[in-house]
Symmetry: C2
Subunit: 421 residues, 2 copies
């Protein structure tokens, strides 16, 4: 039992939520008027707005602008408590979590621990490739890309200089497409001004996709529009390109092709975060744990799993690992916990797909939302509006908007600092 | 010789400037119309506005807001080039620098490599104490302080909880006073809202000063005003307190007193950065190198030293290690290099002291400037204006002002993230 303060206020049932991502945060908020005590656990003290992480990686936004301390977000909620701990295991029989800060018992448990980069067991990529799932990852990419430019300026050998200026993004989903587009604009609109001696012909950006489609969940017209925009941004898209190996200086494809490059950003897959494997529950695809239609774990009716960590199907298709699924699941779980307290029958989860958006740069995006198919400027405006609305906190909204406006009009990126080595 | 681009444009004399701090940057700028090629070297790619570093350490500002890439600052300057390298030594006879990016030759050399935290050989403090000289230091302090609060919430033992919530600042100069004031406001105005279970009586902030004076360079009336303000902010100021030892869990004073505390911020001294010791030149106090009145190094007329790395005296007193000295020295050196090119006699450096400012928190500062002695609100307004004016770049000015306004009106701090472990 952690904290005497908690131990003494045990009149209400305790709901422990693991993870302060989109799902976990929404569960905690939705239970604000329920007759329960909510304890949210996360190893970080902040909620991160992951959809804009690629902009931190490309020096457009500062980490503080897309993250907010959990305690600040839920400050007014009376039945809420936060603990910054890492969860290491769950004893379902004793209804108790093992954490880095000691054991914590629960009456209801909501596992919303999310996803992590999936390198598909490619050891060399795990070692030398750059994932993009948290603030540390994003700052590492930013530092690495900017350092490549600084080092290229010192490099006298043209072959080695070109390798330093070759940037490979793996994965043609929304993250990969957005990352490649933002990287191209960082280099071609901003860094060219910083490096007057740079020969832009030495710079290459490649987007590698294993299948024959970009943005597979989008209709064909939008996929084509995205492909055209990437082409106009000088991004070399390779279909049917599967990575075999990367040693930090060159990447080898399954086809045998070798491309000298010092930077590989891996946006090719996500899987459930490590905790899933330590729960002793059978895992499905991507290490996710299959849940009942009520989002309960089979055999453990007091345990719910949501978001990237949960595996569910709808109309014979697996649910995608995206924020809207986590948020909608969170609302179902909050309702089901309230129903369970009143011994009412639980609701089944149904996902309402609102579509997909991806931005590729200035005035360019594709949007397949609310039954509409948009590309170009209208899609870009919709992308801006949707992301600003979803960002948590007025201060973050204001600063992100100001940053975007500045960068848009002055062709700049504020955060071009190399802050770590 | 680094970079073929440089090797081929050797018509003009080359001035190599080491360090992109206040001094180095000003030399590079002041030489913009001189018939020379300017090469600025720094191990970081940015100029840091150090006077606001304590606000990054106390979660008020984001690192990106007080730093700007050197290439962006000097983008328009035709005779300028930047190299992100670490200088490891100088061969004065060959007029050549050894750097992490290979050798670089010079015609004139300006050493402006600045200062670093001076732990006065106190090994235990070097290991467990927190310095405040660069962005990494500031983010480390921020993470450490916020982590102490999170851990204190998990701590059941009252003694250990109080130790986690005891924050010691060593050094009663401007940095120590500003740090202690900002820390107190972070805790008493902001964190109390994040931690409703926190007992504020468990929190202690101590400011240790070895002599019997705070802000020794200020007139007595202002020193007293500063002392009163610190008292009103619940900061326990101890005079005649010299640190003997700190093991990360408790600090021992020379008097024998032991104070359990997990945080010691060391603002007690600065010395010339490490490069000074590797130059083979005789060093004076704080590892600084004595310079001629013209700021040349004795026996090496083509080498100048400025800022924290230089030792000079005026009216029998050593020049202080502060930004205005570095900036004024930079202007003298730029003029002297231009004069040397025209075989004119060199000018002697004279420091014009414009005074000292220190802010202690909301509406509270002391200012001894332009012959005026101000305290309270007028001094605070003057502090704000002076710092906003000096901050480089309109974007940084705008974002810092917005941040300050927000924090002032809403009693907030934006950057309360724990971003590293």
């Amino acid at each position: 039992m952690v904290g005497s303060a908690i131990a003494t206020s045990r009149s209400a049932e305790r709901v422990v939520v693991v993870g302060a991502g989109f799902g976990g945060l929404r569960v905690a908020r939705s239970l604000r008027r329920a007759p329960v005590q909510v304890v949210l656990l996360d190893r970080n003290n902040y909620h991160l707005f992951q959809p804009l992480l690629y902009q931190v990686a490309t020096a457009g936004l500062e980490p503080e602008q897309i993250a907010k301390p959990v305690r600040a977000i839920l400050r007014g909620q009376k039945n809420f408590d936060f603990r910054m701990v890492e969860v290491t295991g769950v004893d379902f029989a004793q209804r108790r979590l093992a954490t880095s800060g000691g054991p914590i018992s629960y009456d209801f448990l909501v596992l919303a621990h999310g996803g992590e980069t999936n390198f598909f067991g490619l050891d060399s990529m795990m070692k030398h490739g750059l994932g993009l799932k948290d603030i540390g990852d994003a700052v590492t990419i930013r530092n690495h890309v900017l350092t490549c430019f600084e080092q290229a300026m010192l490099e006298t050998d043209p072959e080695r200089r070109r390798a330093k200026l070759t940037f490979i993004v793996v994965g043609g989903g929304p993250t990969g497409v957005e990352m490649a587009g933002a990287l191209s604009e960082l280099i071609r609109l901003v860094l060219v001004k910083d490096y007057p001696r740079l020969n832009i012909k030495d710079v290459r950006i490649l987007l590698l996709e294993a299948t024959d489609k970009l943005l597979a969940s989008m209709p064909e017209r939008l996929r084509e529009a995205a492909g055209k925009t990437l082409w106009r941004k000088w991004i070399d898209v390779r279909f049917g390109a599967t990575v075999a190996d990367f040693d930090g200086e060159q990447i080898r494809l399954k086809s045998g092709e070798i491309i000298p490059a010092h930077t590989v950003i891996w946006a090719a897959g996500v899987r459930a975060a490590g905790l899933s494997a330590r729960l002793g529950l059978p895992t499905a695809r991507q290490g996710r744990i299959a849940v009942e239609p009520t989002l309960q774990v089979q055999g453990h009716p007091d345990v719910y799993i949501i978001g990237d960590a949960a595996y569910g199907e709808q109309n014979g298709e697996p649910l995608p690992m995206v924020a809207p699924v986590a948020i909608q699941m969170a609302e179902t779980v909050a309702r089901n916990i309230a129903r369970a307290l009143h011994n009412k029958p639980l609701q089944q989860f149904r996902y309402h797909d609102q579509g997909t958006l991806a931005t590729i740069g200035r005035n360019a995006a594709v949007a397949h939302v609310f039954g509409l198919n948009l590309s170009g400027f209208p899609a870009w405006v919709m992308w801006l509006v949707v992301h600003i609305i979803q960002l948590i906190g007025f201060r973050n909204k204001l600063f992100v908007l100001l940053n975007w406006a500045w960068d848009y009009f002055f062709y700049e990126r504020a955060a071009r600092l190399i802050t770590r080595d």
